[in-house]
């Protein structure tokens, strides 16, 4: 592993791109697997939001919409203040793979983190892990 400015993950899904696209780009889809409740204005520049029980929330800005192949958005690094303009960019790429879909997600932009907030980031991530792992466990248990 090299210096991590980006994260990349690929999963093979046994469902056609159109169905995966709906799970990624509709409020119903996003609310079913990503957040607990989601809203999305699906156009470049449109806003989107994920909310989780417990009040955790993330705002996104839709950047790329190329149905059913590419969906990109920017969102905040949650240790930064609400009005900080820095964002990471997340891009989902959907490729047909047999009767299913090869889904790749790449998140870039971690190298732009600020120099003066290490303690805030450290504490924030420590807290974030605790919260998100707890919620994920609850979600999987309920499924």
């Amino acid at each position: 592993m090299g210096f991590p400015d980006h994260i990349k993950r690929t999963v093979e899904l046994a469902h056609p791109p159109a169905k995966v696209w709906a799970a990624l780009t509709t409020a119903e889809g996003l609310g079913a697997w990503f957040g607990d409740v989601a809203t999305i204005d699906l156009r470049p520049g449109g806003g989107a939001q994920l909310r989780w029980t417990g009040g955790y929330r993330v705002d996104m800005r839709v950047e790329r919409v190329e149905e059913p192949a590419v969906f990109g958005f920017t969102w905040q690094l949650h240790e930064l203040s609400e009005d900080d303009p820095r964002r990471t960019y997340v891009e989902f790429t959907l490729e047909p793979s047999g009767t299913g879909t090869r889904l790749t997600v790449i998140e870039t932009g971690f190298a732009q983190l600020p120099e003066d907030t290490y303690r805030k980031a450290f504490d924030g991530h420590t807290e974030g892990w605790r919260r998100e792992l707890g919620e994920m466990t609850a979600h999987l248990d309920a499924a």
Binding site: D5, H6, R9, T74
Partner: protein
């Protein structure tokens, strides 16, 4: 505009950065060293004697921890008045470690697993 994706990193620079991050995490693993860094962050450059007065440990222990922190590049020693060496926090290695933490905190495996489950359930 989406930022460019840096497809390949310089291997050698990456190895250096890994080494820096490892030193930072080793330094932060000790509560006394975290207390020393916190004192330097909030109060600015101070001498080992000042630190010993503020923290519940001996000056000898402080000196040992400061040496490790200096080795990791997290503090620098600078000459002060009457030959009293003062220690200053150096945040550059922290920035490197911070990027590791940010990447670790973005957990894609969980959400992608949830997506797969969601699609399979609906099939």
């Amino acid at each position: 505009m989406p930022p460019d994706i840096r497809a390949s990193a310089d291997i050698r620079a990456s190895a250096d950065i890994e080494a820096i991050a490892e030193q930072v995490f080793t330094a932060l693993a000790d509560p006394t060293r975290r207390a020393i860094l916190a004192a330097l962050a909030s109060q600015g450059p101070v001498t080992a004697t000042d630190l010993a007065a503020r923290l519940p440990i001996t000056r000898q222990a402080i000196a040992k921890h400061l040496a490790l922190l200096a080795e990791a590049g997290l503090v620098t020693a600078e000459p002060g008045e009457r030959r009293r060496v003062r220690y200053r926090l150096r945040s550059v290695p922290m920035q490197v470690a911070q990027q590791f933490l940010a990447v670790l905190a973005r957990d894609w495996d969980g959400p992608l697993g949830a997506l797969k489950e969601h699609l399979d359930r609906g099939a």
